[in-house]
């Protein structure tokens, strides 16, 4: 059975071009970039070229690109690193309730270590309000972290406006752009963010590699101590092949962005329409506009998510409920909870996330198997009553 992959927000397959450059790098660039000999310097040149390329694609300078082990490390470094570096200035941090766990748990850790953290809520579309942010800023606030696009609903946050509010108050702004990169335009010159997290495996690159963009002169304390790698920001021998692969993946993603955005907008509108027609009593979680189009989070009235996921999997269709890190439990997603979604509806929420290899035929097949699954579950459901 061919797998129909509709879980691109969890991770993406690696682009064949990326595999090619990584294979080459694994074979050729084994020299340690810190070594003085030619072999080492060859590796150094290769990662510097990758850094240059990534910087130019993001509107940044090469010296502002720091390689990490992925999005989680980038988020940890941004929040903890900046909070610690600015501790003398203040101990208050602001983030939101809809962030990825890498941000939420970093906040939680900081709270246990003497910091105060405000978690902003969001509206029913999953968007955090600029006014709420403005009101939450105090004299002792040092860092604000709001994601660019939400992983569960695809809701796009008003980052540019938030950055303006923060900079007016002299507060640093970090954004987790892991779910935005490759799906909507991401440019630090345009948004003026101070820090930004990226993860390669969300844009058809390898797992285990990411970026924290840190604007020049932004105070951040390193979390990993050791050698002088990454300008003393992140010790550890560089993951050369992955860095090179990530640069290639980013290049392709940016190149394809406009075309893919349009194609996925059309596909997702088509998919939502067809599911609503074929199944009925289906609700879109998150905004209709201002959404990463490839993220389609649907609630099916009267049924819970896990049963749908398993049923779809048995039909060869891979989807998630909420974020991959929390699925497997019947807890309502923290994102839908913050959106004040109806609990019963939230339990039946499924995230279909599309990507580069998603086709209309795959969506048609998905729509063709959904009614049987949903009808079966509704027939067995204790909470489902058909609307009149």
């Amino acid at each position: 059975m061919e797998t129909i992959y509709l879980d691109y927000n969890s991770t993406t397959p690696v682009d064949p071009e990326v595999i090619k450059v990584m294979q080459h790098a694994l074979a050729e660039n084994y020299g340690n970039p810190s070594s003085v000999h030619t072999l080492g310097q060859k590796s150094k040149t290769a990662i510097d070229a990758a850094r240059e390329k990534i910087a130019s694609l993001l509107g940044a300078k090469a010296t502002e690109i720091y390689f990490t082990s992925g999005g989680t490390e980038a988020d940890n470094l941004a929040l903890k690193g900046a909070a610690i570096a600015l501790r003398k200035k203040g101990n208050h941090i602001i983030t939101s309730k809809i962030e990825h766990h890498a941000v939420l748990e970093s906040g939680n850790y900081l709270e246990k270590n003497g910091f105060e953290v405000t978690y902003l809520s969001c509206d029913k579309d999953g968007v955090v309000s600029v006014d709420d942010l403005r009101q939450a800023i105090r004299p002792e606030t040092t860092v604000v972290s709001i994601m660019m696009a939400n992983n569960e609903t695809g809701s796009i946050q008003p980052i540019k406006e938030m950055v303006a509010v923060c900079h007016e108050a002299g507060v640093l702004f970090h954004t987790d752009a892991v779910q935005a990169m490759g799906k909507i335009p991401v440019n630090v010159e345009e948004t003026k963010v101070d820090m930004m997290s990226l993860s390669a495996h969300k844009f058809y690159g390898p797992k285990g590699i990411g970026v924290l963009y840190i604007r020049s002169k932004t105070p951040v304390a390193p979390l990993l101590h050791g050698g002088s790698h990454e300008r003393r920001m992140r010790a550890g021998t560089e993951n050369i092949a992955s860095i090179i692969g990530m640069a290639k993946a980013l290049e392709i993603a940016v190149d394809k962005l406009e075309g893919e955005h349009q194609r996925l907008t059309d596909l997702s509108e088509y998919f939502i329409d067809r599911v609503k027609t074929e199944v009925g009593e289906v609700y879109l979680n998150g905004p209709v506009e201002n959404r990463v189009p490839s993220t389609v989070n649907l609630s099916f009235k009267g049924v819970e998510g896990e049963a749908i996921i398993l049923s779809l999997d048995l039909k060869g269709i891979a989807v998630s409920s909420g974020s991959a890190c929390t699925s497997g439990s019947l807890q309502v997603s923290h994102v839908l909870e913050a959106m004040d979604a109806d609990t019963l509806l939230a339990q039946g929420s499924i995230r279909f996330s599309m990507g580069r290899y998603t086709t209309k035929e795959q969506l048609d097949y998905t729509v063709s198997v959904l009614p049987e699954i949903i009808n079966r579950l509704r027939a067995m459901s204790a909470t489902y009553q058909k609307a009149d």
């Binding site: 049963a307 398993l310 048995l314 019947l330 699954i373």
Partner: protein, 365 residues
């Protein structure tokens, strides 16, 4: 096995991560069923305490990983189903409250009827499976004459698990496969080894799964939100002969750990919760011929009104003995053994057999 009116094509196998359920899956797959595996996550070490390093229990991460690896090697899907909330409420809750009531619970019986053959079966149906299967050593099938689904002892007498399955409803039994009922444990191991199943040599756990260190006292103390008072141990004449640690820590027929020197063995004969006393006596004082049984589930036999003779088993290790079983007006059963039996223990299950066939079961009052 025949299932009248039901066409069974797809089966969800409850995978514990041990050899038995692995072979159950293998056998069903060989028979051509569309099989999938699922491991129930019933508890978490953070909840139940005990030794986190210990492995071999059905819900530790390694067991789940083993089950997943077996499914992968047999090219069937594997899922983890989290029933820990219900398990805590239904099974662990009952386990603790029964001990506090001076009774000795059998959580496996409750887990089978309420979790495996209710929630797991429901989830199986929800995802489009027609039936479930487990690696229990017992047989099940349909008897046309009585129009009943039956449970029988497995052919491996040393492994028979029919005793713990008496609580399954007829509807659930109509959607149940027990592929190991017809083979011995030895054959199971052989099949697993021949097929090079990863779990072929996994040691089995005989303890209650969620009391990972087999230390009931530790578990009950940690689970209970109040101090458990100690009290007197008295003899049959009411004379104080020692101190007990708390009534939940004793069971009828218990001989060890009483801390009383006596020329002949002494046994717990009664747990007197109201007076916070443990009563002890000689072996003859623990013998009982009569008992009553509540919460009856009629399995292979339709509900009866008339008294009948049966072989009755009163705990997992007990050899079923001849008894007269009489339905009472309130739905309970009265059981009178031909010869008195050692340690009739309230909270344990009493199961009535006709030869190898489970007629009915219930909980001893």
């Amino acid at each position: 096995m025949s299932h009248p009116g039901k066409t069974i094509k797809s089966i969800l196998v409850a995978m514990s991560g041990g050899v038995d359920s692995s072979v159950a899956l293998l056998l069903l797959k060989r028979q051509g069923y569309d099989a999938a595996g699922a491991t129930m996550k019933l508890w978490d070490y953070t909840d139940v305490g005990g030794d986190v390093e210990r492995t071999g229990g059905c819900c530790d991460l390694e067991a789940i990983n083993d089950a997943r690896a077996v499914c992968e090697s047999l090219d069937v899907p594997h899922y983890v189903l989290d029933f820990s909330g219900s398990f805590k409420e239904v099974v662990i809750g009952n386990f603790v409250s029964e001990y506090f009531s001076g009774r000795t619970p059998n959580p496996c019986v409750l887990c089978n009827s309420r979790i495996k053959w209710e929630m797991f079966l429901k989830r199986a149906k929800e995802i489009g499976c027609d039936a479930i299967a487990t690696g229990h050593y017992a047989r099940t099938g349909y008897d046309r004459n009585s129009d009943r689904y039956f449970i029988q002892r497995g052919v491996d007498d040393t492994r028979d698990q029919s005793y713990a399955l008496w609580g399954i409803s007829q509807e659930a039994l109509s959607r149940t496969f027990l592929p190991l009922g017809d083979i011995t444990k030895k054959e199971t191991r052989r099949i697993a080894a021949e097929a090079d199943i990863k779990t072929a040599h996994v040691a089995e756990s005989m303890e209650i799964c969620f009391v990972a260190d087999n230390n009931y006292e530790r578990f009950i103390r940690e689970y209970s939100d109040h101090d458990i008072p100690s009290g007197d141990i008295v003899n049959e004449r009411g004379e104080v002969v020692g101190k007990h640690k708390g009534v939940p820590f004793y069971t009828i027929g218990q001989r060890k750990g009483l801390g009383i020197a006596h020329p002949t063995p002494l046994y717990v004969t009664k747990i007197d919760v109201d007076n916070n006393r443990i009563v002890i006596g000689d072996k003859i004082d623990v013998n009982r011929a009569k008992l009553t049984v509540s919460g009856i589930n009629w399995v292979s036999s339709p509900p009866r009104q008339e008294s009948f003779e049966a072989l009755v088993k009163i705990r997992y290790q007990h050899k079923a003995q001849k008894a007269q079983v009489t339905p009472m007006d309130d739905g309970r059963l009265s059981v009178v053994f031909e010869t008195p039996q050692l340690a009739v223990t309230p909270g344990q299950s009493a199961v009535a057999y006709d030869g190898d066939t489970v007629l009915a079961g219930g909980i001893i009052d």
